[in-house]
Amino acid sequence: MASTILEMRDITKTFPGVKALSNVKLMVEEGEIHAVVGENGAGKSTLMKVLSGVYPSGTYDGQIIYRGDECHFKGIHDSERKGIVIIHQELALVPMLSIAENIFLGNEHARYGVIDWNANETRTSALLKKVGLKEDPNTLITNIGVGKQQLVEIAKALSKEVRLLILDEPTASLSEKDSQALLDLLLEFKRQGITSILISHKLNEVNRVADKVTIIRDGRTIETLAKDDISEDRIITSMVGRSLDDRYPPREPKIGETVLEVKNWSVYHPIHAERQVIKGINLNARKGEVVGIAGLMGAGRTEFAMSLFGRSYGRRITGEVFLNGKPIDVSSVSKAVEHGIAYVTEDRKTYGLNLIDHIKHNITLANLPGVSRHGVVDDLRELSVANEYKAKTNIRSSSVYQMTGNLSGGNQQKVVLSKWLFANPEVLILDEPTRGIDVGAKYEIYTIIARLASEGKAIIVISSEMPELLGITDRIYVMNEGRIVGEMAASDASQEKIMRAIVRGEGKAS
């Protein structure tokens, strides 16, 4: 029987007005991969912040027993000294420094303040080998992809003699291939005796690597499942407190005339002017229809959507856009919005929200004329609009005066969605609408999509999750390397068919 490396007993953490954690228990055994799952806002990240000392000892109730001793971490340095290293969802690397500099940042091999670069590089090379990253230690972080950056973070953790590695949603922004590599790495660490806590939304990943799963809901521990009891259905049931027989809401599509038609759309890269990113795309969407765009990362889906939406991406954009049969000008965002096109970004924090302002102001931002007269905002009308959309999209917050920066991912996504719903578009382009949000919130987003379609809007969903596309769309375009390489009715489509279209398309492109 393995020994217990970490025990968190009755952890209770209160924020003004909110009880984020109440009597949470977590037992982690030496050498296992322990998954912590729960909806957004359930308290997973708060729990990890308590563990790593971000919330110092004394600001919460309960005990942390780590390797037999009760610990009172005053800050992240205390926990790191004991070998607890947390890798956050948002990577904490300095982009303009090299891999080696980042790995040993604050921990350099130095004598009297003079850095021994040779020692740093040699050790970095060794660490990079361990995590399977083939890069020169002198490469700048900004020049490598997110997947590789994640590996650098892990190498950094290894450099600190880690015993307990905590990964907060490590695969949220990784491609399928990078995610697999990362999970393999976790299994390799397990063989080397490193204990890991994995926070994830992706149940198939949890299923694949976890030895135990602890489920947290509304700040409480619901249960801890051992390997043999782990199943997606069981986890989902515990996470949302009810069983989700159907992960996608039922709908009966009523498809009308063509609303949006894009012809021969081409875009070049904004910096590398000779590189064509989008190569002559033709696409249409009809009234009441949900159209999916499938493809791998880097296929050009986001670039296509953003270039269509007021030339927000790229250069030398050519092609025609028709709305209800008439050609329209979408050369600026405001013109695109005026013509009834809305684009919900895949990166809500960077492109979607003003995080230092509250929900109300965010919801009305894209349609201020809708709540104002002669340039003067009608406060009460704005307030009732905000409350209306808060209710419609089921945003969970104390009021519409809550800062969007303090909301969970799912609720932030609902705010962005509300903003665009209030702009009342005819065509709604949703880019990865459920990225990084939990099962319950996903279902709510799907329900909203279904309702909008039944109201007669044309909806385009870009998603990397194929089951999601198969579950909610009527028709799927497959994109690869800037081209449409396949089009199929969702009823005929399958994951294999989509993959086959991508592979065939690759053959054609080369």
């Binding site: 965002v333 492109y351 979607g352 003003n354 230092i356 201020l368 009460l380 009021s399 005066y401």
Partner: protein, 430 residues
């Protein structure tokens, strides 16, 4: 100030009715920053009232205080928008100096005929200020040159032009009396003065200046009307909110706030009335403050500026033309710098090469003391105005006390640092 009370997750004023008991606490907490600032200003005023043995609130000194600091506050209104949109403008002091020189040359030196009329010159100067703002804003908005660099260049360029215009180190004046009224004039008493106590006449048959009590009735009436309007509109806004089921703040808090502000305003107005009435520059400033409060709080353009400062990319993807908006913010700053320059020149009665020198720092300090964030997206007009008054009262009070100018700077620096530290500390606790 009870900074210990726990800040709730709410950050706005209004809340749903269901949350009854928590409203009082959270309303107080959410407005703590604003109240705290006003309380700090009052504390500073009371402090100097004592240390200057009552000179600070003397009517003549109040008029001086307003006339000396109004240009800082006028420019702070523009600077607030610049800082909220995530930029900075270091050129405002030089632009003010240049405009003062330009105005003096047009009125006194150049043979412009009817064009040298003070009103015409003022209008031309405001337009030139706007053009300067546009020229700087163009590089910042459309070429993404950091505003710090563009306006640092502007600071050097316009100080240089100012000095060149005035022909090296000389000053140009005297400026026409009509123009000087902008700074040193008082509103005319249309109703006629009310003499409560006739001035004492000495043996030589001359009246002793400052004796007796004569009230400037127009000033009193304007003051009363303003206070009544303030209370009326405050009450009306509350009523509307209540009718729609939204609670603004507890009634008691509202009454106390309204009474305190009204009493303070009436006291100041009365002090002005016992002297020569309201200074014209105070009226100009008052109108501008009201205008900018309205623009930032109620108008879509104000909302867009805050959104742009909070997240420029998200604002752009919400259909906001961020380039044009940035340009407009800098044009506005240019016009207000020009007005500031006119006010300085009018107060001095001449244009001097050093006019407005270093005032950009006072203006920026006023905005940051007022709670604006250097990252953009956060800041209030009233905060900047109160911040400007805090700087002004300290300048004035310390001068009366006879504090050395060198040490005045040290104190102002410490107050700026203290105010921002207090702010950041409060935010981190939340």
């Amino acid at each position: 100030m009870s900074t210990e009370s726990a800040p709730g997750p709410q950050t706005g004023v209004a809340q749903d009715l269901q949350q009854g008991p928590r409203i009082a606490v959270s309303a107080l907490v959410t407005n703590l920053r604003e109240y705290g600032l006003v309380l700090a200003l009052i504390a500073i005023m009371v402090f100097f009232q004592f240390t200057t043995s009552g000179t600070l609130f003397k009517p003549v000194n109040l008029s001086n205080l307003v006339q000396q600091n109004s240009f800082i506050i006028v420019m702070a209104l523009g600077m607030l928008l610049v800082i909220v949109s995530g930029h900075i403008d270091l050129s405002v002091g030089s632009v003010a100096g240049f405009i003062g020189a330009l105005a003096a040359m047009m009125m006194v030196i150049w043979p412009l005929g009817p064009l040298s009329n003070p009103l015409v010159v003022s209008i031309i100067c405001l337009i030139v200020g706007g053009a300067i703002g546009a020229a700087q804003g163009y590089w910042i908005a459309y070429h993404r040159i950091p505003s710090f660099i563009v306006t640092l260049a502007g600071m050097l360029i316009f100080r240089g032009i100012c000095q060149a215009l005035l022909g090296g180190g000389s000053s140009v004046g005297p400026l026409p009396v009509g123009f000087k009224a902008l700074s040193s004039g008082f509103i005319p008493d249309l109703i006629g003065p009310l003499t409560l106590i006739p001035p004492t006449v000495n043996a030589a048959g001359k009246t002793i200046v400052g004796s007796g009590l004569t009230l400037h009735m127009t000033t009193l009436v304007i003051g009363l009307v303003a206070v009544l309007a303030y209370a009326y509109f405050g009450l009306k806004a509350r009523r509307t909110r209540e009718r729609h089921g939204y609670e603004a703040e507890p009634f008691s808090l509202f009454v106390v706030k309204t009474l305190v502000i009204s009493a303070l305003a009436l006291f100041l107005v009365y002090q002005f009335a016992t002297y020569r009435g309201l200074p014209i520059v105070l009226m100009v400033m008052g109108v501008l403050i009201a205008l900018f409060v309205f623009v930032t709080k109620r108008m879509t353009i104000g909302r867009r500026i805050y959104a742009m400062g909070g997240n420029a990319k998200a604002a752009q993807l919400s259909g906001i033309n961020t380039e044009r908006l940035t340009l407009m913010v800098f044009i506005n700053m240019g016009v207000l710098s020009a007005l500031g320059g006119l006010i300085i020149a009018a107060r001095l009665g001449q244009a001097v090469p050093a006019a407005g020198l270093g005032s950009e720092l006072d203006v920026i300090a006023a905005v940051f003391i007022g709670g604006a964030s250097a990252m953009g997206g956060v800041g209030q007009v009233i905060g900047a105005v109160v911040g400007g008054f805090i700087m002004g009262v300290m300048n004035n009070g310390m001068s009366i006390m006879g504090v050395n100018v060198d040490w005045q700077q040290v104190v102002k620096g410490l107050v700026l640092l203290g105010a921002v530290v207090f702010d950041v500390y409060n935010k981190n606790k939340a």
